[in-house]
């Protein structure tokens, strides 16, 4: 975290006293927030192009969307929400010095990340087996593009979580700020999926 009002960035997170005082702080490194906002804007532009194209061929998009299993989309969303909850617990535990709990929550986050990956691969396999590939139609092009680019972000998320685990495991290199930075990235994957889910599975 980085304190405001001109204070030097600290390697560890806000202590309880600081939290109780309610002093504002940026969770993690500010550079990550610049990256998050940039990524969020890039995804907003993808989503906007998707919605515009969708309104030009509503029947085709709805027909293709009907081949997706809404329950799988809901399951994937719930899985990522659990992973986000776990990584938030990891940050809080680390801040309080409960490094064992922080580590367990980081592993839990990874576990649910893996569940999401497996579920996504199975979903793609099912769609392809049914004959719906990237080139089937415009809806499926968007479907594979958006889910694949999100998938790529998730894979990077595992490297990021690996960094968090590496930090938490050793007292010598432990940096709460870095753990918070990693958590910020992971939450970004979560909220981007929430939008992808609404646009691909729910909207009409």
């Amino acid at each position: 975290m980085t304190t405001v009002a001109g204070a030097e960035p600290r390697a560890d997170g806000p202590d309880e006293e600081e939290r109780t005082r309610g002093a504002p702080f940026v969770p993690g490194q500010p550079d990550m927030w610049v990256f998050v906002l940039f990524e969020a804007l890039v995804f907003t532009s993808y989503f906007t192009v998707y919605v515009i194209r969708r309104t030009q061929s509503p029947a085709l998009f709805l027909q293709s969307q009907a081949h997706l299993d809404l329950r799988v989309g809901v399951f994937n969303t719930l899985v990522l929400l659990v992973s986000s909850w776990a990584v938030a617990r990891c940050v809080q535990a680390g801040r309080e010095g409960s490094h064992r709990t922080a580590l367990n929550n980081a592993y839990l986050t990874m576990l649910f990340g893996v569940v999401f990956l497996v579920s996504k691969v199975l979903e793609w396999t099912t769609e392809i087996e049914q004959g719906f590939s990237f080139t089937t139609d415009e809806f499926f092009s968007f479907y594979y593009f958006l889910t694949a680019i999100h998938f790529l972000h998730l894979l990077i998320g595992f490297v990021v979580l690996g960094v968090a685990v590496y930090q938490i495991r050793s007292p010598a290199r432990r940096s709460q700020e870095l753990v918070e930075t990693c958590a910020t990235y992971w939450h970004t994957i979560d909220f981007l999926w929430v939008l992808i889910f609404a646009l691909l599975y729910v909207m009409r």
């Binding site: 989503f47 969708r54 009907a66 929400l81 938030a88 709990t101 939450h187 909220f191 939008l195 729910v202």
Partner: protein
């Protein structure tokens, strides 16, 4: 772990999960007409998703403790995304030829 914080995190997670399950009902709404565009379902889906996103940003990402500038920036992105998606949908549907 701080019990109050832990309770709050769990409550937020439960609320987000409940809203997600409600989206299952929204997505299945009027199944027989699922091949007809539905502005109510679409706007609800987008608005609900943006509410969930804002909750994740404020609670899980702890932006509620961040300086006002970061709170405003993230809120601005949520608003820009909402206007962009809903605007594209309604303007696009008005000029739709499909």
């Amino acid at each position: 772990m701080n019990r109050r914080f832990e309770k709050r995190l769990s409550f937020v997670w439960l609320a987000l999960s409940a809203i997600t399950l409600a989206q299952l009902a929204l997505g299945s709404f009027g199944e027989r007409d699922s091949l007809t565009p539905n502005a109510t379902v679409t706007s609800s889906a987008i608005v609900i998703a943006l509410i969930k996103v804002r909750v994740i940003i404020r609670e899980f990402m702890e932006v509620r403790h961040a300086p006002v500038s970061l709170c405003r920036l993230t809120d601005l992105w949520v608003v820009v995304t909402g206007v962009s998606l809903l605007g594209s949908y309604f303007v696009g549907m008005a000029f739709s030829t499909g």
